[in-house]
Homo-oligomer: 470 residues x 2
């Protein structure tokens, strides 16, 4: 690929994670360029992943979610920010966008040398009867969060139904229980957090129930019940649930319609298709963040796995390419982690079922244990499931569930790097990880998992326990 020349004008559409990062990075790469951000919302550059903690009161001051204020972009980085400006059209041929000022009536044409599309993703709301009622919420933007918080403060709802048991749904279970609300969680699948296997997700489900969340698994929402324009409850295939408030956290979709209308190619899940340098199919137009595709590094397939941390890495790469260099973001493992009450759950890479879909034969080993030696007070328990390719022993993925105090995210990260680097079960079994009694057993979970996988998947005659004796 040839490098593009230095641009005079870089225009960024969208300014939350991918867009804000791209603009900042572009400024460093191009000290003299004009850089502008257009966003239809009134907030940019905030921590979207922090919204549940604001609502639940763990992070009570929403202004702390703002990483950088619009006038800081201007004063510190000479990046012009246009809030409440909606981009209506992209004209790739003339390298121009049409922008409407939502506060006024004006529409103007804006030229660019390089355009970075960072329009993000939006909540998916199926056509459920009653979804327009007062007290029905989605939670994606800071504006959504402020609306919900205001409703909670003014109306003091006592009963909430959360529809969708993914990451946001689970984090919001904790948030709303902190506010002493009764919480029903409705999930169509037969276990919470569908990306996890049922055995691990089951442990998380039990923990939610111990914390007062009523699980309604295998239940389909049929409608939201009305009492004078406000929410009265949720009708599901498994019966009616009373509610003063409903959160629809069913899923999100990439915001790619603007790109599609400009003739830009879409890819997985209708996200904007990008290459490793974040280029779209249109010249001088890049995309990054939750609106863009990426590649799954294990399956090798194009994927759409939106996440704040990925958005920032893609934003950097997009800015490097837009600046005339060659940014590079090779892809993701789909790694995620979340906290629900005092439990951690997470995943990296492929499960057995996902490996099968990708044409890879695999088997898994599962370990459950206290993470610290028996004689050392403290720590907690965790379960790890490690998926290994048959014959080669290559580590394809891992799932963890455990007490927050068990630091399961540490083992998850170790396994994520192992998947990234293409290590095998045998490599795992001799990793030189950090050991002292306040941190782990002499042979920490990834090492023991490597031993177990050698024995069970590769047929090597051995097992070992975390106490390290066998």
């Amino acid at each position: 690929m040839t490098e593009m020349e230095k641009p005079r004008r870089i225009v960024v559409i969208g300014g939350v994670a991918g867009g804000a990062t791209a603009a900042s990075k572009a400024r460093r790469c191009c000290p003299d360029a004009e850089i502008e951000i257009y966003d239809q919302d009134e907030f940019i550059s905030y921590a979207g992943c922090g919204l549940p903690y604001f609502i639940g009161g763990h992070s009570p001051n929403w202004r702390r979610l703002l990483a950088r204020l619009p006038d800081e972009f201007e004063s510190r980085q000479n990046i012009r920010v246009f809030l409440r400006h909606r981009v209506n059209d992209i004209d790739p041929g003339n390298k121009r966008i049409r922008v409407a000022d939502l506060e006024g009536v004006s529409e103007s044409s804006i030229d660019y040398d390089r355009l970075i599309i960072a329009t993000g993703a939006a909540p998916f709301v199926p056509p459920i009867p009653g979804r327009e009622l007062e007290g029905v919420f989605v939670l994606r933007s800071l504006t959504h969060a402020l609306e919900m918080k205001s409703f909670i403060d003014l109306r003091a709802p006592r009963r909430a139904v959360i529809v969708g048991g993914g990451a946001i749904g689970l984090e919001m279970c904790e948030a709303l229980r902190r506010l002493d609300m009764e919480v029903d969680l409705v999930e169509m699948a037969d276990h919470v957090l569908p990306p996890l296997d049922p055995d691990l997700a089951g442990k998380l489900g039990e923990h939610l129930e111990r914390n007062g969340v009523r699980l309604r698994l295998g239940a389909k929402v049929e409608g939201i019940m009305d009492r004078g324009g406000s929410v009265a409850g949720v009708a599901t295939s498994e019966g009616d649930l009373e509610a003063d408030m409903v959160l629809l956290s069913i899923g999100i979709r990439p915001v790619s319609d603007l790109a599609r209308r400009a003739g830009i190619e879409l890819g997985a899940r209708d996200a904007i298709r990008v290459d490793e340098a974040m280029r779209t199919s249109a010249p001088d137009i890049l995309a990054c963040g939750d609106c863009a595709t990426t590649r799954h590094l294990v399956s090798g397939e194009e994927a759409w796995l939106p996440l704040g941390s990925t958005a920032r890495k893609q934003g950097r790469a997009a800015a490097e390419t837009a600046s005339g260099g060659e940014g590079r973001f090779p892809g993701v493992l789909g790694t995620f982690v979340l906290k629900a009450f005092e439990m951690t759950a997470g995943k990296t890479g492929l499960s057995e079922a996902e490996a099968r879909e990708a044409g890879l034969a695999s088997r898994s080993v599962t370990l459950e244990d206290a993470v610290l030696p028996g004689y050392y007070r403290g720590g907690g328990r965790m379960t790890a499931k490690v998926t290994v390719e048959e014959n080669t022993g290559r580590v394809l993925g891992a799932q963890v569930v455990g007490d927050y105090s068990a630091v399961a995210e540490r083992r998850l990260d170790v396994l994520a790097v192992c998947v990234s680097a293409g290590l095998t079960a045998s490599d795992l079994s001799v990793l030189d990880l950090a050991y002292a009694p306040p941190y782990s057993h002499p042979l920490d979970i990834p090492i023991v998992a490597g031993n177990l996988a050698e024995a069970r998947v590769l047929g090597k005659e051995c097992t070992c326990t975390m106490e390290g004796l066998e």
Copy 2:
């Protein structure tokens, strides 16, 4: 290498970490062989790394340090254990050892098909005047710990001097301060924990001082002062220190004299030289654990880096080889971690100075920050220093220091796997690590370190902060 045939008799000398693991593993590989452990101590198979926590009272019941009792080896695994038996000689030609029963007067000859030497390491005590006085201790074995604990319980010493600021010395600072003793720490180097660079070790030193430890850096012990056969104090090059009790934690040495006398080749630091399969220079004799050499995976050089977790991995490999298979332990990164009061310190791979000795040109980047987003209450602060090879960008090593609550061991482990797998700074910068606000910034420390190293070491024009904005 050819595989050896299945042995009928496997004899193991030493039964703490490497030896106990080797015997257990050998039993699984050879269900029908006779397996015997000889150890001159009265305890085997205990958690040596747990001794400071027993003394300090965090793990008050010393019996919990015993991973497996001798009669459990016999009843569960049919492994015969001979305690208080000292091996006086090895006769490799006749495949026989001479063993003295320390409780009686008998000496007997014992045949073996395969011999595994796991004699461990012993405290190094320089010829300091007064080292034989009552109240002067070393801490290596459970017997040492019981003696020290008994002395503390009966004599109630108020002032302790700890000589040597390595891992044991630092852990014992915490242990003795927990017992309300005054503690002076004497260290010859100009900073505690000499394997760390001074900038990071300095933070640890400040933390020790905040917890009431008086640091005596750059001080050399000249003698131990006598008051009627008991300790009265320690004379150092920087002045005299009063003391009722002294711990000499200066270092350890491999116990390799038995092997040396049998004509077995020694290697780095006079440890028993082994290959990847744990074979010594003598046929049918293997070695593992703290008495054996290993290989440093970054420098490629033979090394002696004794550690409980390494001992267990080597024990497994030795048993596989002894059983007629081909065990494999490729080597170590010298990874360690320790807790001192409420701080974590650790290291993996090479520092810049060590890289230089190994002929590798390198540079380091250092980051210090809170580990969680500003809006999320909790977490702590940590510092990470990552050393990267010039030109290639390969990650050679990392050092961390931080609050215990900052989970520095997680970042250390991630970096250890990166060093293991030969990843570069650029690889670090796009790692797909687990992110959610209760666990890290969107771009966690290893990722930011990768970005910084790309910029500073490889000259790529970019930086980024943990908030992920730039």
